[in-house]
Assembly symmetry: C2
Homo-oligomer: 110 residues x 2
């Protein structure tokens, strides 16, 4: 990788850990209308056909969470799964939360 490439990666990592402003969050939620801001986190509840479908979704979310080392709080209530995302190191909501939220939406749509 070139030096430019390294610097690009570092810049991306740094940006991911910057706490977003309320205006930034509102703007980004336009692209994720099922997600709601709730204090220092964003939250969405998914509805599935049954418990087995909920768990299949949760296992995909968990696998991805471990890969990116960013772990949502996960609440499973039979056919409903609520994800709550926050970046504890930044003390609020960051790009990392929106990136994982968008990925979780694709898992639920499959």
């Amino acid at each position: 990788m070139t030096r430019d490439g390294d610097m690009g990666a570092e810049y991306t990592r740094a940006m991911a850990l910057l706490k977003l402003t309320d205006a930034d969050i509102t703007a980004r939620l336009v692209a994720l209308p099922e997600w709601s801001p709730l204090g220092e986190q964003i939250q969405r509840t998914y509805r599935f056909t049954d418990f087995v479908a909920s768990m299949a979704f949760v296992d995909r979310v968990a696998e991805r969470a471990e890969v990116v080392q960013h772990h949502p709080d996960i609440l499973i209530r039979y056919n409903r799964v609520t994800l709550s995302l926050s970046t504890h190191d930044a003390g609020g909501i960051t790009e990392k939360d929106f990136a994982l939220a968008a990925e979780c939406d694709t898992f639920a749509a499959q």
Copy 2:
């Protein structure tokens, strides 16, 4: 199976769906000291080494829940997992909840 055996199984199923009294619940919690009554449910939070260990436990709980068709609410917060058990059909806490609670404790101990 004999007729006596059938009646025994029916009796066991009926008992499992009887809402327990507060005195019954208190007595049964002696055997499960990590569980707490919370309104119309019993609840325990388990602590594990990390998220992967939490998910391994949750997957075992989920598999058993599906077998016995009794599904706890499951909250995963990185290395902590909170299970909440209630029998909705009975409108409260029954033997089914204590039976599954005891099984979940054995999964966590392994």
